[in-house]
């Protein structure tokens, strides 16, 4: 079953078809930028070309006018002039009153521009010709009086060239822009294709498929790095999810055994009331429910630690007092001999309940694994306070020393459970010590077993 949103995505599987895609936007941007640049360039090109051609026509006209003016100055009568003639070039010689004294074969008999100042220029149209003409005049004072030479040069070459250039550009530019658009579309599409592949894969990865990874394009560009980062994140999610499932499984397992024990005793008591010793039943139920309560407390504590919502009140605290307290508790149980001769003063800043739990958990853990002796010591060393808890038990293999602080890790599962540990004590120690900015490490004890050493910052007196 698809939701409405999924159905819409299904119908439009290609994200590139969407108007809001980077591909479309980049292509449009490329076309607009290149188009503006090309249009500006084309307009400039045509303008400059037209200017240059007009300039050359003007120069030619002036040259012709100067030739005729020179002849007139030399005394040649206007009627004797041989005026060059073509339909592109019209030449007239006027007298001081603007009357036409001589004209080229194609030139009209009336003045082309009577009011043009000598040396001036203008653009005119001539009857019988479509193209505009550029007209100039030059004065020539010869022996026969003042004359004005007027030369009109057709601008058809300029117009034609401009037209050709404009036509070429007008057809070439759109083709070029289409080319730019296609290339940009393809290039952006090719570089974004891995992103789409990554997106599609991530979309399909559900909570139960965290082993899947997004495709990693070769190289080290931004997209390759994105996929590497994404895969690292997926790996973290997978580990977290695995840990979570493991924890739930372990927790259920741990909760099951005290519940089974209570149930079994209750069933026997119900079946054979006459053979049931009430106080013995009560003792069993009490012991198992204490175990349950402890386990639930520990789990809640770790959950709060995970959520970073532990409420720790940091105050100056004597770690030696906590060590003596833990030692007294162990001595009351009487299972092992407790040596506290190494306990000297150790002032830290920390949460009293939290650190009491650290010392108590370490002491109980040591007592569970010890054959006969546990030693607690507290000392100040430089800027640190060390709490050491030693036992003369079997010790912990170096390879397992980091693992003992994980949740529900028991190096010898069956025996440790018989000894009553929840499997969470050292995990809680690790969380609390970390919350106090300290470290906790496992090493060998001079007593022969293991030593767990907590290092916290020493508190100053002021």
């Amino acid at each position: 079953m698809l939701t409405v949103g999924e159905a819409m995505r299904e119908r439009q599987p290609n994200f590139l078809a969407r108007a809001d895609s980077i591909r479309a936007r980049t292509t449009v941007l490329a076309i607009v930028l290149v188009g503006v640049a090309l249009i500006v360039g084309a307009v400039a090109l045509v303008t400059v070309m037209r200017g240059a051609l007009t300039e050359s026509v003007l120069a030619d006209a002036r040259l012709r006018a100067a030739d005729v003016a020179a002849e007139l100055r030399g005394g040649t009568a206007p009627s004797e002039l041989t005026l060059p003639s073509s339909d592109d070039l019209l030449i007239q010689v006027l007298d001081a009153h603007g009357r036409v004294l001589a004209a080229g074969a194609e030139a009209p008999g009336t003045a082309l521009a009577a009011d043009l100042d000598p040396g001036g220029m203008a653009t005119i149209t001539v009857a019988g010709d479509d193209d505009p003409f550029m007209i100039i005049s030059a004065s020539a004072r010869g022996p026969l009086g003042a004359r004005t030479v007027v030369v009109a040069h057709a601008l058809d070459l300029v117009e034609e060239s401009t037209e050709v250039a404009t036509t070429l550009l007008a057809t070439g530019l759109p083709i070029l822009l289409i080319l730019v658009g296609v290339v940009a579309w393809m290039l952006v599409g090719r570089s974004l294709a891995p992103v789409e592949a990554i997106r599609r894969e991530v979309e399909e990865i559900s909570g139960t498929q965290l082993h899947r990874r997004v495709p990693a394009p070769p190289g080290t560009d931004e997209i390759a790095r994105l996929s590497v980062t994404m895969n690292e994140m997926l790996a973290r999610l997978e580990r977290a999810s695995h840990r979570q499932r493991q924890l739930v499984a372990d927790t259920s397992h741990e909760l099951r055994s005290p519940i089974a024990s209570i149930r079994q005793h209750a069933e026997v008591a119900a079946a054979y009331p006459e053979r049931t010793n009430a106080s013995e039943l009560a003792r069993t139920v009490l012991a198992e429910s204490l175990r349950l309560a402890r386990l639930v407390d520990d789990l809640l504590f770790l959950a709060r630690a995970d959520e970073r919502t532990l409420e720790l009140k940091h105050r100056p605290l004597d770690l030696d007092d906590l060590a003596f307290e833990a030692a007294r508790a162990l001595r009351r149980e009487g299972a092992v001999a407790v040596d506290t001769t190494g306990v000297s003063g150790g002032r830290v800043r920390g949460d009293a309940d939290g650190l009491r739990r650290v010392v108590a958990n370490l002491a109980e853990n040591a007592a569970r694994h010890a054959r006969s002796r546990v030693a607690l010591s507290v000392l100040e060393e430089g800027g640190a306070v060390l709490l050491r808890v030693d036992d003369d038990g079997p010790g912990i293999a170096p390879a397992d020393r980091g693992r003992v602080f994980e949740r529900f890790v028991r190096l010898d599962a069956a025996r440790a459970r018989d000894a009553g540990g929840s499997g969470l004590g050292l995990a809680i120690v690790a969380e609390l010590v970390a919350a106090h900015g300290g470290t906790v490490v496992v090493s060998d004890s001079p007593l022969g077993g293991s030593r767990i050493e907590v290092r916290l910052a020493r508190a100053s007196d002021v």
């Binding site: 004597d318 030696d320 190494g342 000297s344 003063g345 010591s377 002021v462």
Partner: protein
């Protein structure tokens, strides 16, 4: 009393100061201190007394430029009844 003169003591420091004040002017041995402030069957490092005396000096003597808590070499400690 001005707040500036307030000092914060831990429980054990308070017990030690109280014990020394009750015996002000007299020399008290380390063993006596351990028995009264800690435990009659104290099983820790006896050096702990020196550590705590050090803490106390840092808190009640040094900031006020006094030497009320004397070490009597080979015998123990004495708190000056006049406050040093």
């Amino acid at each position: 009393m001005a707040r500036a003169n307030e000092v914060e003591l831990t429980a054990r420091e308070m017990q030690l100061l109280e014990f020394l004040m009750r015996r002000a002017g007299a020399v008290v041995s380390k063993t006596e201190i351990l028995a009264h402030v800690w435990d009659y069957d104290f099983e820790g490092d006896p050096n702990i007394v020196e550590v705590y005396v050090g803490h106390l000096r840092n808190k009640v003597d040094r900031p006020f430029d006094r030497r009320a808590l004397e070490t009597i070499r080979g015998a123990g400690y004495r708190l000056d009844a006049d406050g040093g």
